[in-house]
Symmetry: C2
Subunit: 371 residues, 2 copies
């Protein structure tokens, strides 16, 4: 997996990751395809929107349809008919947030499926094995997502466990050209722990570095501060991935602090409840004021969901729980995110990222409070 | 609205209805777009599948978003971005089956919305007015759907009420070139009542004739018998529409008895539960035997939902309640129905409708029992 940086502007940079499944322009937003589908989108929709890489979830896929089944069926790419790059998370985060009962030991995590209560074990070795069976283009190490808030002692112990698991993940990983394994920096909001984690991961050696344990309630200021403490300890020549982030201003702010990759369920999940991201800010299409609004979201937009359907129609569809409402609003939001990343890359290349941030701040800072 | 018959074969015929919104090849299946959307399909999907006309529901649309609102927004075509013909039912059937409380008088039907309990009144005049505001290409008269079973006396009184309402519907209807108003024959399963109803409607004069009150539990034999009693009393030179029908063999059998138009929620509703219509019969994709089935529904099929996604993937999506499962299975089923009508038209033109029916009977008669 080759990462080439094209332009820089302060800490921000544009680049391209070349993988076995195609190239990824960075900074990039990766739509979340939890259970082998980005909810309410077909792969044709994703291609039309311009998404270059999507996420899959080890936790969800190991429960249903099962990693061994996906492998038998030719891997996740073939299974879901997506030929572009796929990044799979390691399952660590979902085990903590979704599974019913869990026991964390040095070996790994025992948990019960939230679907049917079946007991499973996830360890660094098993997580890497599952991601291999899925055929992930980018594999994530198995780590413990430190709860927030955490004392320095708790955060340190958790980070040290994650470092030991990172080493085991690396040992279990099978290298192939055009594929890659990413480390995940932990350490909560503590500068010294983030540095130790980053140094430890660098010593092991990975194809990219993720920053985990953020966007868990610490707030944007603390998140940005933690990025400022962490990014300087990451390799310059590897992609940097801020996991689970975020709102538009979170993303732009993180790009300004040197981050290259993002994922978040926000644009897909909120679409299904009628929150739409527009150039005028985030709106809630279920608001009564849109019931008679004949205007479209963006007459000059790049997809028909923006140009052909009135706000009144989208309002109606979401109010009536119509699947087409989820389909159209999801297309609109993923297009917004993909297009925002395009604009961010152009702004970096033009040395105008600050101006771009200021412009977006005027539109989004008020609306974000309502999200 | 002009109806031209091209070929006949026994009672079956092919033809074309020319409307203000384009031509409709008959026999035709009309996908049901209850609340201004065919559930889980975009209009682009409908165009790709080859649907030529869709249904809208007066009852649903009057409750939400409201007929006056749709009119203000430019009519149903513009509202839902569909430029082809739309047939709207009159609301009579849904008032009986969905609304909470109702009082039927000579004037019309008082009922409460199943959504929020608001009280509404539907009369022949109001139903026709609503359909006019929606901009329906084909408007249906407001009738009473006779319950099944009904005694001869009850069926007669209900049919006579529907006839008086048919006259009031005709009087309220505003004629425009390329638009049409259809009568609806009632009379339950009684030959004499069906004849009286048909003759009464012919005397009033309509652009097409629907056969109502069937597919309500009387069974296929009784339905076919009632068609055989009814169709001879309908004008030869007007389209004939069997409302709410049906399964593949119901449709082919009805075409053989002279019917030109059909609608049914079966292919859309069942798709969302994983029942898929294939050339090998109806299958339930949630069946465990499909969990590892790497084959696609039809490698030579006309849409990507048939050719690009394995049965195992469709199985997974429906089991996991993924919206994409509804999207793909609905495309598959509506394509099956639209394509079946194409094959029926070709079989009529070739004088081979009996052979086509026999071929389909071998595939579907067993599976239909499982529906």
């Amino acid at each position: 997996m080759k990462f080439t940086i094209h332009k820089t502007s302060g800490s921000a940079r544009t680049g391209v990751i070349e993988t076995a499944h195609g190239a990824i322009q960075t900074p990039v937003f990766m739509p979340v395809g939890t259970a082998a589908t980005v909810k309410a989108l077909s792969v044709d929709d994703l291609k039309e929107i311009g998404a270059e890489i999507i996420l899959g979830n080890t936790y969800h896929l190991m429960l249903r349809p099962g990693a061994e089944r996906v492998e038998r069926l030719g891997g996740l790419h073939k299974f879901m008919n997506w030929d572009g790059p796929i990044l799979t998370d390691s399952g660590g985060f979902q085990v903590m947030s979704l599974s019913k009962i869990r026991k964390i030991t040095e070996a790994g995590v025992k948990f019960q499926s939230h679907i049917d209560g079946t007991e499973y074990m996830l360890s660094p070795e098993r997580s890497i094995e599952i991601q291999h069976k899925l055929g992930a283009t980018i594999t994530m190490i198995f780590d413990e997502c430190t709860p927030f808030p955490a004392t320095h002692d708790v955060a340190r112990e958790s980070m040290e466990l994650s470092l030991r698991w990172a080493k085991r993940s690396k040992d279990a990983y099978v290298e192939r050209p055009g594929y890659g394994l990413f480390g995940i920096v932990q350490g909560s909001v503590y500068e010294d722990l983030r540095r130790i984690s980053a140094e430890g991961l660098k010593a092991i050696g990975f194809d990219g570095m993720a920053i985990g344990g953020l966007a868990v309630g610490e707030g944007q200021d603390m998140m940005f501060k933690t990025l400022e403490h962490t990014v300087p300890h990451l390799p310059t020549d590897k992609p940097r991935y801020l996991m689970g982030v975020g709102k538009p201003l979170d993303i732009i702010g993180a790009v300004m602090r040197g981050v290259d990759m993002f994922d978040c369920v926000l644009p897909t999940r909120n679409a299904r409840n009628g929150q739409i991201f527009t150039k005028q800010g985030a709106i809630n299409i279920t608001n009564a004021k849109y019931a008679d609004d004949a205007s479209v979201i963006d007459p000059n937009g790049g997809i028909s969901a923006l140009t052909k359907y009135s706000k009144a129609y989208l309002h109606h569809l979401i109010k009536a729980n119509e699947i087409l409402g989820c389909m159209l609003c999801t297309r609109i939001n993923i297009y917004f995110y993909v297009n925002m990343m395009r604009e961010i890359r152009a702004a970096i290349a033009a040395g105008q990222l600050e101006e771009y941030y200021e412009g977006m701040r005027k539109v989004f800072v008020k609306e974000e409070a309502e999200m």
